[in-house]
C-alpha cells in the first residue's frame, strides 16, 4: 500500500462507514508493503471509527508491514488478530 493506491483502501472504508459500519476488519495477510501514506489511511479510518466508539481491526499483519506498525508504535493503537475468525469472535 503506497502513495499511489492507499486512497483506494481509505475510500472503501469510507463507503462502509457511510453505510453505518461501526467496526471494520481489514485482512492484511497479503499486504507486502505499507508506506507512510498507507499508515496515514489506516490511522485516519481508525480515528473516524473510534469517534463513534467503533474500531478498525487488523488481521494477518506480518512481515515488513508489521515491522512498520511496530516501528511507529501504531501496533498498540489497533486491535490486531491473526485471523478474521478470531477478530469476529470479539465483536
Amino acid at each position: 500500500m503506497d502513495a499511489e493506491n492507499a486512497h483506494e483502501f481509505e475510500e472503501a472504508c469510507e463507503h462502509w462507514i457511510t453505510e453505518g459500519a461501526k467496526h471494520l476488519i481489514a485482512d492484511v495477510d497479503g499486504l507486502q508493503y505499507v508506506s507512510s501514506m498507507g499508515l496515514r489511511c489506516f490511522l485516519s479510518v481508525a480515528q473516524k471509527l473510534q469517534s463513534t466508539s467503533g474500531s478498525l481491526i487488523l488481521c494477518g499483519l506480518h512481515g515488513l508491514p508489521r515491522q512498520v506498525f511496530e516501528m511507529t508504535r501504531l501496533i498498540g493503537l489497533f486491535p490486531v488478530f491473526e485471523t478474521t475468525q478470531q477478530a469476529l469472535a470479539t465483536l
Binding site: 502513495a3 508493503y33 501514506m37 496515514r40 480515528q47 469517534s51 493503537l77
Partner: protein, 140 residues
C-alpha cells in the same frame, strides 16, 4: 578503484517512483544486498521521492536524480537530488509516538521510517540542489 556511480534522472512525479526503485534495486542486488531487504529499500525511496514529487517544485515541475554506488560488499550508497526549493527533511520534527489513537497526528511518519531503515543519512545543499544521501541497509 572507486565503484562506478550509476545515475538516473526522471521527472519529479509520483509516477517516476517505480522506475527509480527498479533502478536502485538492480544496484542493491549487484552489491550483494539480500533480496529480502529490497522492500525496505523501496519504502525508503518512496518516502523520500514522494516528498520531492509533491513539494520540491510546486507549483512548477522539475527533475529528480537518483545516483548510487556500492560502498562495499552488501552496502549501497544512494543520493537523491532535486533542484527545487530548499528543504531539509531531516529537520522535520519527529512524530510523538506516545500519543493515543485520537491524538495521533497523521503526518510526519515518512521521515521517521526512513531514519529507522537506513544505516546513515545526511542532507546537504549543493549548487542550489537538495541532496539527501543514505547508506543501506542498516546493520551488518
Amino acid at each position: 578503484m572507486d565503484a562506478p556511480v550509476k545515475r538516473l534522472t526522471l521527472p519529479a512525479r509520483p509516477e517516476s517512483i517505480a522506475a527509480f526503485c527498479e533502478f536502485v534495486r538492480a544496484g542493491a542486488l549487484a552489491a550483494g544486498i539480500a533480496a529480502s531487504e529490497l522492500e525496505k529499500l523501496d519504502l525508503v525511496l518512496e518516502e523520500i521521492l514522494i516528498n520531492v514529487a509533491r513539494y520540491a517544485y510546486v507549483p512548477d515541475t522539475g527533475k529528480a536524480e537518483v545516483a548510487y554506488f556500492a560502498e562495499k560488499q552488501g552496502k549501497l550508497r544512494v543520493e537523491i537530488a532535486d533542484s527545487g526549493r530548499f528543504f531539509n527533511p531531516l529537520e522535520v520534527d519527529p512524530p510523538d509516538l506516545s500519543r493515543g489513537l485520537a491524538e495521533r497526528q497523521i503526518g510526519g511518519l515518512g521521515v521517521f521510517l526512513v531514519k529507522n531503515l537506513v544505516e546513515s543519512i545526511a542532507y546537504s545543499r549543493k549548487d542550489y540542489r537538495n541532496v539527501l544521501s543514505f547508506t543501506f541497509p542498516s546493520g551488518g
